[in-house]
């Protein structure tokens, strides 16, 4: 909201520099975010009086003018404008001047005639035709006042600082000049005064003879108050009013409409003026709209109304959407002769809902939706009529027409001085507290605070403590550390595990990524997920930003592949990545929250072909080992739609499948714009955490030497090494310390369809040396077991 410094000073004698004003206001909870002065942008532009106009000797479209700019000798100005005449008062940008948009004006010659500057239009001064009565778009601004040589900014009232204030949502009282003035006065310790508006004289007719008001929805309209004005003379507003409206960013329309806007800015109470001639039956009915009812609002838009919306209607039709915008059918026209001023209080939530549903947020709805003080309608209505009188815009009928269902109870809160002092760590006396509260419009008597009706946000001693703390100064509150007996802080085992997991993943060369958790439903096609897969049953956002971010992911794979693809497209020769992120699995009962499960995702590609399936598997093994997990088993997986059927493994620990790793199916890689081999793994974080080995206990170094044997084996190509190893381990018994594969060979020296595998076996006993005989016997057992499984010793 924009607030004029000049206007504020009508209520409190502020003298602070704008910068200081801004800083201090921020410290009392009034967030002034900036300020500007229109006049700061315009330099050396003055009022000039045109003494003579003659045609340019060499140019049909130019005129040469002699102008008095208050400097003694008249100066010559050449212009192309045609609306300048002898005796006209005009803005003159002198030699070395600056216009609103930053344009510099200097002396020059136009077709041989010297021009000592330029006449200005409204736009060149940063104004519009609404800002100055009688001004035109394409021509020079003809002034109604001023003396040659006067600074134009002063004459036009542009020399005003305008502050931008962000008002917090629970303080609608501050959405007004008076509200901010009150806070300013309290902040700077200055007097503050608003005179109660008074109407000097009334026409003999009674308003109630012309107008009836009935409120059919008192829940949505606690208070409706109206006055009627006759003999209305529609015309432009006076200069001071136009200037004040402009400084607050409101353009002038005509005197009656301007008065409603002026009062809204001043008091924070939205007002509306109806053309009485258009109010059928002279009756105002505040009711819910009928379903399907249609109305054209002031902005010319046809609005479809619903039963939830409140309208102001007459006998026949709606004339305004309550609290949001008036109807075109009853707007103030040049011919309007009788006016109904509405000053009403509406239920905030309903206005908010209506303005949202209709997609129009107006200055009025922005105030109403925060729940205004029902008592505000009285002064606002009288202020509007007082202005009508002052402007000579009409005669006010006597009496008001009002329906009032509002709550007039007065809230009181005991002033618990000691409690407040301890809560905010201050040592204020009761007088000091009272002083603060009184400056804000509260009254304090016998230790009881009476809350003014415009401060419905203040309900409890906590709220009072905040008011007092703000004006006592947050800066004055000391810092203290608490001696708390709170124990049990620190990381949980699981939180520590997650950190170690991250360290292990980085240790094998993977970098961490963060991705969005909402995805496009199309990822499932790209991942070749079958149409009937439960994976596709993702939680849908009902108001997503776009389709690409419309469902909560049930897999992290697409997020990883998208990041790999982005890196690939950015021509990075390799990317080794991991993410610990959530998937969201719908609950069978859809009213229940989904399961949020963390998944550890690994992914990489490498242009140089340095990496393959075993790089990935090695990473997994390394990570599991460093986390001290139980032994993992890798089982071939040929049926996962997103992975390569021959290069993928399921990871099993403790008879539980904890994840999958392998090469991404080439068709999936291609769908994500990747070519070449891409490797990923997806591992359930909770299962990983559950797979930790029971204890990490030191294992003594062996005391006795190991007996080692190498075995060269021959088997069919389809036999998995993992199976062979299992057989060896089983047959080798407890003294077989380790089995390690050191060579795999297929080729000329091995018969077609077979492969040769070479293992190094190591046997050891804790309590004595293994004898050769004993070792040989074990080897025989192993070979026999292998033989049974179709594996022979290579001769």
């Amino acid at each position: 909201m924009d607030i004029s410094y000049k206007w504020l000073r009508q209520y409190t004698p502020l003298t602070a520099e704008p910068g200081e004003y801004m800083r201090k206001m921020c410290m009392t909870g009034n967030e002034v975010t900036g300020y500007a002065n229109h006049a700061d942008r315009i330099h050396n532009v003055v009022v000039g009086k045109v003494l003579s106009v003659r045609k340019h000797p060499d140019a049909d479209k130019l005129s040469v003018n002699s102008v008095d700019v208050g400097s003694g000798e008249p100066i010559q100005i050449v212009t192309a404008a045609t609306n300048v005449f002898e005796g006209a008062l005009v803005p003159v940008a002198l030699h070395n001047s600056c216009l609103y948009d930053g344009t510099k004006i200097t002396r020059g010659k136009l077709r041989g005639e010297v021009s000592n500057g330029m006449f200005c239009s409204v736009a060149e001064l940063g104004l519009t035709t609404h800002d100055y009565p009688g001004s035109i778009e394409d021509g020079i601004l003809i002034l109604h006042e001023g003396t040659p040589g006067d600074d134009i900014c002063q004459v036009l009232g542009l020399d005003d600082t305008v502050f931008t204030v962000d008002v917090v949502t629970n303080r609608p009282d501050c959405l007004s000049v008076i509200g901010i003035a009150r806070e300013s006065a309290a902040t700077f310790g200055l007097p503050f005064q608003v005179e109660k508006p008074e109407i000097a004289s009334f026409a003999p007719e009674k308003a109630s003879d012309f107008l009836t008001v009935s409120v059919e929805a008192p829940d949505l309209c606690p208070r409706y108050r109206a006055r009627v004005v006759k003999n209305v003379k529609i015309g432009p507003s006076p200069k001071w009013m136009i200037e004040q409206l402009r400084s607050c960013g409101v353009r002038s329309i005509n005197n009656i409409v301007d008065i409603t806007n002026y009062v809204m800015l001043e008091y924070g109470q939205p007002m509306h003026a109806f053309d009485y001639a258009c109010v059928d039956g002279g009756s105002i009915i505040v009711r819910r709209a009928a379903s399907g009812e249609v109305m054209k609002t002031l902005d010319g838009q046809e609005r479809k109304l619903t039963e939830e919306m409140l309208v102001i209607a007459d006998d026949k039709k709606p004339v305004a959407v309550a609290g949001v915008m008036g109807g075109e059918n009853s707007e103030i026209k040049d011919t309007t002769s009788m006016v109904v001023f509405e000053s009403a209080n509406f239920f905030g939530a309903s206005v908010r809902k209506t303005s949202k549903a209709l997609g129009m947020r107006t200055d009025a709805s922005a105030r109403y939706e925060k729940n205004l003080d029902p008592n505000l309608v009285v002064d606002a209505l009288d202020r509007a009529c007082q202005l009508v009188e002052e402007l000579g815009a009409g005669e006010i009928l006597s009496g008001v027409v009002e329906v009032d269902h509002s709550d007039h109870s007065v809230r009181t809160i005991p002033l618990e001085k000691d409690w407040i002092n301890s809560y905010i760590n201050a040592s204020l006396s009761e007088q000091e507290m009272t002083g603060i509260l009184e400056s804000l419009g509260f009254s304090v008597e016998n230790g009881v605070v009476t809350v003014p009706s415009f401060r419905s946000d203040v309900e409890t001693k906590y709220d009072l403590s905040e008011e007092i703390a703000k004006f006592y100064g947050y800066d004055n509150i000391p810092s203290a550390s608490f001696k708390s007996d709170i124990s049990g802080g620190g990381y949980t085992e699981e939180q520590k595990f997650e950190r170690e997991l991250g360290e292990a993943l980085r240790g094998v060369g993977l970098s961490e990524i963060l991705t969005y958790t909402f995805v496009s439903p199309r990822i499932y096609d790209k991942l070749r997920v079958p149409a009937d897969s439960p994976l596709r049953n993702a939680l849908k956002i009902s108001n997503p930003l776009g389709e690409d971010t419309s469902v909560m992911r049930t897999t992290t794979l697409s997020s990883m592949l998208e990041v790999l693809s982005r890196n690939y497209n950015n021509r990075n020769s390799e990317a080794y990545l991991y993410e610990i992120g959530k998937i969201y699995l719908k609950n069978a009962d859809e009213a229940e929250l989904p399961e949020e499960r963390k998944i550890v995702t690994l992914g990489f590609y490498d242009y140089d072909g340095k990496a393959d399936f075993f790089t990935l598997k090695g990473m997994a093994e390394e990570v599991f080992a460093s986390l001290n997990l139980k032994e993992a088993e890798y089982r071939p997986c040929s049926d996962h739609p997103s992975y390569h059927p021959g290069r993928t493994a399921e990871i099993w620990i403790d008879r539980e499948k904890i994840g999958i790793l392998g090469q991404i199916h080439p068709a999936v890689a291609e769908a994500f714009g990747l070519s070449g081999e891409v490797y990923c793994a997806e591992i359930s974080y909770p299962l990983l955490y559950a797979s930790r080995a029971a204890e990490h206990v030191y294992k003594p170094l062996p005391k006795y030497p190991a007996a080692t044997r190498d075995l060269a084996l021959l088997c069919s190509e389809d036999v998995y090494s993992g199976e062979i190893e299992k057989v060896i381990r089983k047959a080798g018994g407890k003294n077989l310390e380790s089995v390690s594969l050191f060579d795999v060979y297929t080729g000329r020296q091995v018969k077609e369809g077979y492969k040769s595998l070479a293992y190094a076996l190591s046997f050891r006993r804790d309590d004595s040396t293994m004898s050769d005989e004993e070792t040989d016997r074990l080897i025989e057992n192993i070979l026999a077991a292998l033989e049974e499984n179709g594996v022979q010793i290579r001769s």
Binding site: M27, K370, T460, Q495, G502, G507, L514
Partner: protein, 340 residues
């Protein structure tokens, strides 16, 4: 006679030694003179022919000669070994300006770097880390935080909904409620996590970002404790010289409420382009827990008070590393990630 032979052998040996310039030839010299069939050995084998009187004299002489040759060989050997070692070192010289062989170590995402620091700082102050769901009930995200359905504060947090009652949380403050429902005071938690708001994606907006929420509830907690906690946090995160400022603000779930700023860690509060010449950088919001919120969670507000604070993590990360576009954080280009 033998004596003369010994003298000659000695001279020959010394002569031979002077020519031995590699270790191999030195060995040959040793074998030639001192070996089993060496010249000195040969002479000594003639000792038997000598008279008993001559024997000790010649014997002594022979030992002298052998000792001398041995000594010279040893000296020469050491010299040559030294030279050989030096030669080897010389030949092994490398261009040490060639690049190192690096093993790939992955990087932590900058958001995690800063988050872990913050968590460590609070854990060291006795906080524990709490968590809550991202897909949340309207109740926990709004209602219980004193933000009823019609509250205008909802406008500033445009929300993704799944149903009228289920949404993506817009603030980690929901974890406050879940914690207070589960646990009775004293409570001292930090709740970091993802939050979601409807925002078009641009350089400074992301529909997904992280917040860090803190909550302390106990007997006798006052605003000074809030200030103290914020001070120690700021010092831990931004350095000992940083000061904290709180200014009044409004949040429905705290009363009084405050905006938290820290003195600009770039200019120390003098004013610079980084802090827009204000000397202060806003980092979040805070306040004393609204008694309505406490009561809603079954905590007696006449007995307990508390404070809460919240900060946006991405903004801290971006300030720390001078990142100007929030999208970088979610694009995950490895060239970006390798910076951290």
């Amino acid at each position: 006679m033998i004596k003369k032979q010994l003298e000659e052998v000695k001279e020959k040996a010394l002569e031979a030694l002077s020519h031995a310039d590699i270790l191999d030839s030195l060995e040959q010299v040793r074998v030639r003179f001192l070996g089993k069939k060496g010249e000195v050995t040969a002479i000594l084998s003639q000792m038997g022919k000598l008279s008993p009187e001559e024997r000790p004299v010649i014997g002594q002489k022979a030992n002298e000669v052998r000792g001398l040759i041995e000594k010279k060989i040893a000296e020469r050997k050491e010299e040559l070994s030294k030279a050989a070692a030096e030669q080897k070192l010389k030949s092994e010289k490398l261009d040490i300006t060639l690049p190192g062989k690096r093993s790939r170590i992955g990087k932590k995402h900058p958001v995690s770097v800063v988050l872990d620091e913050i968590k460590d700082a609070f854990v060291s102050m006795g906080y524990s880390i709490a968590d809550g769901p991202e897909v949340e009930y309207d109740y926990y995200n709004f209602e219980a935080l004193n933000i009823p359905k019609s509250h205008p504060a909802r406008d500033t947090q445009d929300t993704f909904y799944f149903s009228p009652e289920m949404l993506l949380r817009t603030q980690t403050s929901s974890v406050q409620i879940r914690t207070m429902e589960k646990r009775k005071p004293p409570i001292k938690i930090l709740a970091p996590g993802r939050v979601y708001r409807i925002d078009e994606i641009d350089a400074t907006h992301s529909p997904v970002f992280h917040q860090i929420e803190g909550l302390v509830v106990d007997k006798g907690i006052t605003m000074a404790h809030l200030k103290g906690a914020l001070d120690s946090m700021a010092k831990k995160l931004f350095g000992e010289n940083v000061t904290t400022r709180i200014r009044p603000d409004y949040f429905p779930f705290t009363e009084p409420s405050a905006e938290i700023s820290v003195s600009c860690f770039m200019c120390g509060g003098e004013g610079c382009p980084f802090c827009k010449n204000e000397g202060w950088v806003e980092i979040g919001g805070a306040g004393m827990v609204n008694p309505k919120v406490l009561e809603g969670c079954g905590i007696d507000s006449s007995e307990y008070t508390g404070f809460a604070f919240g900060m946006g993590l991405e903004r801290l990360v971006m300030r720390r590393y001078r990142i100007t576009d929030i999208r970088m954080l979610f694009e995950n280009d490895v060239r970006f990630l390798n910076n951290f």
